[in-house]
């Protein structure tokens, strides 16, 4: 049996979806309530990490493959820069290029929302990668590494 005991697995199944929705909520409402890209990203990453802890790495990687995580990781950071460059069109780097909207509505802060989303993508995937890299680190003998290189 891969992963932890049935109790943990079942309860994990119950909460993972909720955690992700909560993380996304924290990201999207980051400019209205406490939170933001980093905090929400960490929460989303925690959901995947929880799934990995309970079910083993295969289930977690089936939801978020390693390569996809790498792409999101770099892509999020690039998106952040690109959104910053939109500001140049109206005058300066990181200047608010989008409409301000109404106060205390979801789409009310122009550039902060997309920036938060970009940060959330970056943070969640990179934290997930960091965790998986540290958790799945297997000790391999030097000989095995050489054999891998030759194969």
């Amino acid at each position: 049996m891969i992963g932890m005991t049935l109790i943990v697995k079942t309860i994990t199944d119950f909460v993972v979806g909720f955690i992700i929705v909560f993380g996304v909520y924290i990201v999207l409402y980051g400019h209205l309530t406490p939170g933001g890209g980093f905090a929400g990203g960490v929460i989303i990453a925690c959901a995947f990490i929880l799934a990995m802890l309970a079910h083993g790495k295969d289930v977690a990687f089936s939801k978020l493959p390693e390569k996809a995580a790498h792409i999101i990781d770099s892509g999020g950071a690039l998106a952040f820069l690109l959104i910053g460059w939109f500001g140049v069109t109206v005058g300066a780097f990181f200047m608010n290029a989008f409409g301000r909207g109404e106060v205390f509505r979801l789409l009310s802060s122009g550039m902060i929302l997309p920036l938060n989303i970009a940060i959330a993508f970056k943070v969640s995937s990179s934290l997930f990668l960091v965790f998986s890299a540290l958790a799945i680190f297997r000790r391999r003998s030097f000989r095995a590494m050489i054999e891998d290189e030759l194969a």
Binding site: F38, V103, V130, A133, L134, F137, R139
Partner: protein, 78 residues
């Protein structure tokens, strides 16, 4: 460290620093300084990065030496 930064920005009886159009000046003066909080958040993020790198290096060091004992891991003279 982070506590120190937060203390700098703290004001007794302060309120959250959100500016609304028709706000009395008295409220403006009671704002808690938001900048130290931003600094703390940043320093937490940096700390996280450093910590993960440190743990990764620790794992690799353990792999090489089979121990965390610093007196054993002393190939270099400094």
């Amino acid at each position: 460290m982070n506590l120190y930064l937060i203390i700098i920005g703290y004001k007794t009886g302060g309120v959250a620093p959100i500016i609304e159009p028709d706000m009395p000046v008295a409220t403006l003066e009671r704002f808690v300084d938001p900048l130290p909080q931003a600094m703390v958040l940043t320093s937490i993020v940096i700390g996280l990065g450093v910590l993960s790198l440190m743990v990764a290096m620790c794992i690799r060091l353990y792999e090489k030496h089979g121990t965390f004992d610093m007196s054993v891991i002393s190939k270099l003279r400094g």
